[in-house]
């Protein structure tokens, strides 16, 4: 069975374009949401990218991140014919529709779900191309489907990740559900009141071990295992016991053949929604059996929905390369119910080169990943 190794990274988000700006933003741990006006003229707080020109930006950002990731992996001009593509997205290029409805311009005729096709076309991919839309865990699922294609021999290179653009309709929906924090996304703070949306694209290039050796390129990390489960419980609320989240986490650890005590850092879904955070972190603490160090990206990145799991994987690859865990931003008083070690100052050294990533989403789609360090 072929192993899947991360050989390239690309990122576009509110922290800036490129992985060095992304990592710098994680270490600085001081950014928050900006004020931004929606299509109905209402002021919103969100983690928006700086360049918001044009529409179809989920695709634009995904293409930009994919080209950067392939270039990072050593593919000139970001072209790789042998590659397949799996990207996660919740709403795709929905910004084009919302812009058209607000301005009276003709609405795009195509469905917003053309993100993977846009990336595949730009990079010249001829492998399997899929868009996975399992809500807010879509990025984690993309990071499971990609290695599966490499393991099975279906493809040698997979360009995987996620992309999400701010949607004003989704914003209104989250407000309707009472899921927005009025100030800042602060997943580990006891005063947290909800999430705040973000946007961006994170892309990772995965290659088979054979190909990596043939090309003599460096790896960042290995995707060692993944696990899936479905709550089958409620459209929006998590199953309160976290039974299925536990099952996905255990499946990922078993698939990776990594004992829970080896995990050096946990990158949870944790978005600042009190009940969801408590259920997920409870499951993590239970499966691990010890208070492992934990870091969540959403305090400085916002909740990038279908891209969130891809940003967690990007973070995991960088944590494994740099051997440190960044500090969590926006924590005044740590949530007393969080049974994991919330890193608050740092960065702190990574004690063991294995990272556990968890993703959950509306509808109860749970996913988990285990990444392992790669010799530099």
């Amino acid at each position: 069975m072929q192993r899947a190794v991360v050989t390239g990274l690309g990122s576009v988000c509110s922290l800036g374009t490129g992985t060095s700006r992304f990592w710098g933003g994680l270490l600085a741990a001081d950014t928050g949401p900006q004020s931004i006006v929606d299509s109905a003229g209402q002021a919103r707080r969100a983690y928006a990218v700086a360049d918001r020109d044009g529409t179809g930006r989920a695709s634009t950002m995904a293409v930009s991140a994919a080209v950067a990731a392939l270039t990072d992996a050593g593919y000139a001009d970001g072209v790789c014919e042998e590659a397949g593509v799996v990207l996660g997205t919740g709403l795709g290029d929905v910004d084009g529709l919302e812009h058209a409805y607000a301005t009276g311009a003709p609405a795009p005729a195509d469905s917003p779900f053309g993100v993977s096709a846009a990336v595949a076309t730009r990079i010249g991919a001829t492998g399997p191309v899929h868009t996975v839309s399992t809500g807010c865990s879509a990025g984690v699922y993309a990071l499971g489907l990609g290695p599966d294609a490499i393991r099975s021999g279906e493809a040698e290179v997979m360009v995987v990740g996620g992309a999400e653009v701010l949607s004003w309709v989704a914003f209104g929906g989250l407000e309707g559900f009472g899921l927005l924090d009025p100030q800042v996304c602060r997943p580990f703070d006891t005063e947290r009141r909800g999430m705040l949306p973000g946007e961006g694209a994170a892309v990772l290039v995965l290659e088979s071990l054979d190909r990596l050796r043939r090309r003599r390129v460096r790896g960042y990390a290995e995707v060692m295992g993944f696990g899936w489960s479905s709550d089958g419980h409620h459209p929006t609320a998590p199953e309160p016991n976290g039974t299925q989240i536990r099952r996905a986490l255990r499946a990922a650890l078993a698939d990776a053949d990594v004992p829970a005590t080896w995990i050096g850092a946990v990158l949870p879904h944790r978005a600042g929604i009190p009940v969801n955070d408590t259920v997920e972190t409870g499951a993590l603490a239970d499966v691990l059996g010890w208070p492992a160090p934990v870091f969540a990206t959403k305090a400085v990145l916002g909740h990038t929905a279908g891209a969130a799991g891809a940003f967690a994987a990007l973070t995991g690859a960088l944590v494994l390369r740099r051997r440190v865990i960044p500090p969590n931003a926006h924590v005044t008083v740590v949530d007393p119910e969080c049974g994991l070690d919330v890193v608050r100052t740092g960065p702190v050294p990574l004690a063991s080169p294995y990272v556990l990533i968890s993703g959950t989403g509306f509808g109860g789609n749970n996913g988990a990943l285990v990444l392992g360090g790669w010799p530099v």
Partner: protein, 391 residues
């Protein structure tokens, strides 16, 4: 472990353009009862109705554990999103219906299926143009083969949007030991944005993708269906050439779906069609954007196909229903797949005997009393007949 398509349900209007589409083509009360669907999106309602049909045929009693869901859709939230957008901009977000809001998540049709049937193995939604349903079925087959699920509900659902016709196709994918059905022999996914430019104009030229697709079926007669949501049939020509080179004799399968009018449901209408024909089958789809997906099937021989409606054509089924309605003295509309003979149709031992005699006369077969005693619903009658009537 091998994965089979144990049953299929197809619900789609028999029209060719949206202009011909009647508003009431799908009656939720008929499929789902008077309550419980009010806040579900149309694509979700279609999917739940199809699940009821497809599951009854394979698991008439309780569902086994370890079920998964794998669904494709490309257009199921566009209309909903437009409506929510209008409400948001004109009345503000407070005016959005909280009960309806979850439907904005494109994974909600699959998730509602997981919730309704307590399916915990996995719940996947693919959203690529045209091929997402085929990709969903292939993924389900792979998960069943790998032992990560005992069975999976796999298919596609679409709401009418712009020129796209609505509809749903859903398969029960399970292991060969679990239920009979055509076996998924393999699949293939690829991307071919501009086929002619990439591979040249000569259809006889060496084409690795077409050759890979052709290896999904054995030499000899094969039922073949191709769909594309654009004008380009280039891949179709290449695949036919590769099949001919391998000694495959293509049997055309006439039917809807080849123009992609039902979006991701289209290739699955074709798949449902070929899955009911004995012998190997190949379904290939290529989206205008460039996605390619192909799936190969090997149908069991007629004698293996004992449990479900497969060889009997739609016309045969109508004929059986008419005969039963006459014998049972009920309205033919009451003889549905779900209607229980004793509980719903008032069949007693005498009427059952009467029915056995009528079936024996009409189809020239012999039905034992104990065989008739085990029959409780229409699909079982059809299965019994199929077992007995020579193909």
């Amino acid at each position: 472990m091998t994965a089979v398509l144990a049953s299929s349900a197809v619900i789609a209007p028999d029209v060719s353009t949206v202009d011909e589409l009647a508003d009431d083509w799908f009656d939720p009360v008929h499929h789902l009862g008077p309550r419980g669907w009010k806040y579900l999106s149309p694509a979700t309602r279609y999917l739940l109705a199809a699940a009821q049909q497809a599951l009854t045929a394979v698991y008439p009693e309780a569902l086994p554990p370890d079920g998964g869901v794998s669904i494709g859709t490309h257009h199921s939230i566009t209309e909903l999103h437009r409506r929510f957008d209008t409400v948001m901009r004109t009345e503000g977000s407070r005016a959005l219906s909280p009960a309806e809001l979850p439907s904005l998540a494109v994974n909600m049709p699959a998730s509602q299926l997981a919730i309704r049937y307590r399916l915990h193995a996995f719940c996947l939604t693919f959203t690529d143009a045209l091929v997402a349903g085929l990709a969903a079925v292939l993924r389900a087959a792979r998960e069943v083969r790998a032992g990560r699920a005992r069975f999976a509900l796999a298919g596609a659902t679409e709401q009418a949007t712009g020129p796209v016709l609505p509809g749903v196709v859903l398969f029960v994918v399970t292991g060969a030991a679990e239920a009979p059905g055509p076996r998924v022999t393999g699949g293939c996914a690829s991307f071919l944005p501009d086929s002619a430019a990439r591979y040249g104009e000569d259809p006889k030229a060496h084409n690795p993708l077409a050759e890979r697709i052709a290896t999904l079926v054995p030499a000899g007669p094969v039922s073949y269906a191709y769909s594309c949501d654009g004008p380009d049939r280039y891949l179709d020509h290449l695949v036919r050439a590769a099949l001919a080179a391998r000694g495959v004799e293509v049997r055309e399968v006439a039917g809807r779906g080849d123009d992609g009018a039902y979006s991701t449901v289209s290739p699955l209408i074709q798949l449902a069609g070929v899955s009911r024909v004995p012998g190997p089958a190949l379904v290939v789809a290529r989206s205008r954007a460039g996605h390619v997906a192909a799936i190969g099937l090997a149908s069991p021989t007629a004698s293996q196909s004992t449990k479900h409606e497969r060889v009997l054509s739609t016309m045969d089924r109508t004929e059986v229903v008419a005969l039963m309605a006459d014998v049972l003295d009920v309205d033919p509309a009451k003889i549905t797949d779900e209607a229980h003979f004793i509980n719903d149709l008032g069949v007693d031992s005498l009427i059952a005997l009467e029915l056995a005699v009528a079936l024996e006369r009409r189809y020239g077969v012999k039905i034992a009393d104990e065989e008739m005693a085990e029959v409780r619903r229409l699909p079982e009658v059809l299965a019994l007949l199929q077992q007995k009537v020579p193909a």
